[in-house]
């Protein structure tokens, strides 16, 4: 198949992939998921991929994703040695979208924590799968979520039982190996943290080769009353990869959801967090760090909905772009009429490291309540001349001084990382990047 040109071709292509996929399942995976899928492919056919006319995709040109006839990645693939080094248990590992029992540790039916693949979880907790899978992912308006749902089969399932406090971080690893060109995978994550439970989750995306592939990811995270979920994403896709991730979060009263994303890889990536604060006193924190090089494009998009009173949201997005890289941040805060005493803070700092690098930043506040505090601020700047002079006057050469200041800019996101190993790993990654 050559490049996809029209919307009609787009639809036909994914419909053909869908039929191929359905036949590969041999009626497996249950009726409930089947009807979710069928509805989703229909919806995708109607929506098509978003264009830059859509306000939510204004600064991201999806032409390369839209025109490529991506194929489903079927069959087993080998994981290059060393790929999983340093990633501790408990963990669930997926290779090209498919669960790998070999590399994973699962717990099912455990009193406090269940971690399993989605098909496995469907056996132990059919009622939870039925009630929650696909419930908060917005298939109606989000084409990528619809497409992911159309191909929904495998994925990660995390269930933290009422009152349980899970000390060890749960690791989710999505590996994309070097295989045929132009493969597509649809990783899916469902996290349910019941009332008063606590869990830390580290979600990793690792590419091991140089081929073009596309990961279209959907996550759903449901927090019961007073639950605490600390969610990290480390995106280290291959340099020619496309990565579009939609994370749909639903929060009950008093719950605290933190999302911290480190976006290192991919030629084009979209990191989207859509959270609904649906109960009184909830708190949502969303932090991201993006470091773009070469011709990388990264789009960070948040939609935080305050739907109940006395909720807080804090956003910190830091973008550093070098070479001809492009960074986008658009953050929407919606405050519903009855969400009084809302406190929403959004900060976006951008650092331009070269003349050809660019950023677009767009805050969007939609406030329908009157007793709220919403602040947003965006800065776009270059390396501070004053700081540069200070370091150089101490004998540090110009390049290294620039590196130190770039590191310093990024370090604010590191400070909030609550898992020591992750903070150290990201810190080393930054030091390596900036060679000091």
């Amino acid at each position: 198949m050559t490049a996809i040109k029209t919307r009609e071709e787009q639809k036909d292509w994914y419909l053909s992939q869908f039929r191929l996929f359905e036949s590969s399942l041999n009626g497996d995976a249950g009726q409930a998921i089947h009807s979710l899928r069928t509805a989703a492919i229909e919806r995708f056919s109607e929506l098509g991929f978003p264009t830059s006319k859509s306000e939510e995709w204004k600064y991201t040109n999806l032409a390369s994703i839209v025109s490529t006839p991506f194929r489903l990645a079927l069959g087993k693939a080998d994981v290059p040695a060393g790929t999983l080094d340093g990633i501790p248990f408990p963990r669930l590992v997926f290779v090209n979208g498919t669960f790998s029992r070999e590399y994973s540790s699962t717990t099912a039916g455990n009193e406090s924590l269940t971690m399993a693949s989605l098909p496995e979880a469907a056996k132990f907790h059919p009622e939870l799968i039925r009630d929650f899978l696909g419930r908060y992912a917005d298939v109606r308006t989000q084409a990528f979520s619809a497409l992911n749902t159309a191909f929904l089969y495998d994925g990660a399932f995390i269930l933290v039982r009422r009152g349980a406090v899970i000390e060890e971080p749960v690791q989710l690893v999505f590996i994309s190996t070097d295989r045929e060109e132009q493969c597509i995978a649809f990783p899916r994550v469902l996290i349910i943290a019941e009332e008063n439970s606590q869990v830390k989750i580290v979600e990793r995306f690792k590419g091991t080769g140089g081929n073009t592939y596309f990961n279209n990811i959907v996550g759903e995270t449901i927090l019961g009353p007073n639950a605490v979920v600390d969610h990290y994403r480390i995106q280290q896709e291959s340099e020619n990869a496309y990565h579009v991730s939609h994370s749909h979060v639903h929060q009950d009263r008093g719950s605290v959801y933190s999302s911290t994303a480190f976006l290192w890889g991919a030629a084009l990536s979209r990191h989207e967090v859509r959270a609904v604060l649906n109960g009184e006193g909830g708190e949502c924190r969303a932090r991201s760090l993006y470091l773009g090089k070469n011709r990388q494009h990264s789009d960070i998009h948040t939609v935080l909905e305050h739907a109940a009173p006395r909720c807080q949201s804090h956003q910190l997005v830091k973008t550093m772009v070098d070479d001809e890289a492009h960074g986008v941040f658009s953050g929407r805060i919606v405050v519903h009429p009855d969400a009084q005493k809302t406190n929403a803070i959004q900060t976006n700092n951008n650092l331009l490291l070269s003349e050809s690098a660019a950023v677009d930043t767009k805050p969007q506040l939609e406030i329908f309540a009157d007793d709220v505090r919403c602040t947003h601020g965006a800065t776009i700047g270059k390396i501070d001349e004053e700081g540069l002079f200070y370091l150089r006057s101490r004998g540090i050469d110009e390049q290294q001084a620039r590196n130190v200041l770039t590191y310093a800019f990024a370090s604010e996101v590191l400070e909030s990382v609550a898992i020591d190993d992750v903070r150290r790993e990201m810190d080393e990654r930054l030091h390596r990047q900036f060679r000091f």
Binding site: D384, E385, E386, G387, F389, Y390, L391, R392, S393, R394, G395, I396, D397, E398, Q400, A401, V404, L405, Y407, A408, A410, S411, E412, L414, E415, F436
Partner: protein, 254 residues
């Protein structure tokens, strides 16, 4: 050591320094005094290599070489140190790490072996007592959240570690209480030697009670209008700067 000859410099077309002449020899301490806006900080920053200012005329020789051709780091490698009036905060980078990087950059440039972590720590412990600085500040990010006094002490501490040949202190005394001032002065006096020179840029003469200068220069409206010994500072303390104003008129051509 340092020869400043007829230095004219400014920023965006505005001339700030209007013909400075200054000669500093090894072993000497020079105080440069003057009212706000006289060009004191501009001179300090130009000596350290700040490119914000454009030199339009004149020259600066440092140990016989053209200083204006050197980058800020090269000047540091050759022993020039500026204690900043407003030290810069660098979040995320510990004071210790920063200093080790600075010292080793200088040592490397001077053809000396870089210090390893152990030797560096020994050096740090030795010097930190000199400025009576809390050791906890070593692990904190550079100047981030430091009080004004802590920042100034940190500058003197850096100076003690880097052991410059020519130290320029840009209003290090401003905003310091008397105890901190004494500590800073002790730090400077310890550095004082036959081989080194110090330029103290200050607004008040109080610091000069603790660091006795060999020469005092009064900088007004971009030019040195009067030079003398220590007694000149005392005279300024008593009379202020106004009586020198007539002398600040364009100097007759030499």
């Amino acid at each position: 050591m340092l020869e400043v000859r007829n230095l004219h410099a400014g920023i965006e077309g505005t001339e700030i320094l209007k013909g400075i002449n200054l000669s500093v020899k090894a072993g000497e301490v020079h105080a440069i005094m003057g009212p706000n806006g006289s060009g004191k900080s501009t001179l300090s920053q130009i000596l350290a290599g700040r490119k914000t200012y454009t030199v339009t005329e004149g020259e600066i020789l440092y140990e016989g070489e053209n200083l204006l051709n050197m980058s800020p780091e090269e000047r540091a490698h050759r022993g020039i140190f500026l204690a900043f009036q407003y030290p810069v905060e660098i979040p995320g980078v510990s004071n210790m790490y920063f200093l080790k990087m600075a010292l080793n950059s200088i040592r490397k440039a001077q053809g000396m072996e870089e210090l390893d972590a152990m030797d560096f720590l020994t050096l740090v412990k030795d010097k930190i007592s000199l400025v009576n600085m809390d050791e906890a500040l070593l692990r904190r990010p550079v100047n981030a959240g430091f009080s004004g006094g802590e920042k100034k002490r940190n500058e003197i501490f850096q100076m003690a570690i880097l052991e410059p040949r020519l130290a320029i202190l840009d209003e290090t005394d401003s905003g310091l209480d008397i105890d901190a001032l004494r500590i800073v002065a002790e730090g400077v006096n310890t550095l004082r030697s036959e081989d080194n020179a110090i330029i103290l840029v200050t607004h008040y003469q109080r610091l000069l009670n603790y660091i006795v200068p060999d020469y005092v220069h009064v900088l007004m409206n971009g030019a040195i209008v009067k030079s003398g010994g220590r007694e000149l500072a005392l005279e300024l303390e008593e009379k202020g700067y106004d009586w020198l104003k007539e002398e600040a008129q364009p100097a007759p051509a030499v």
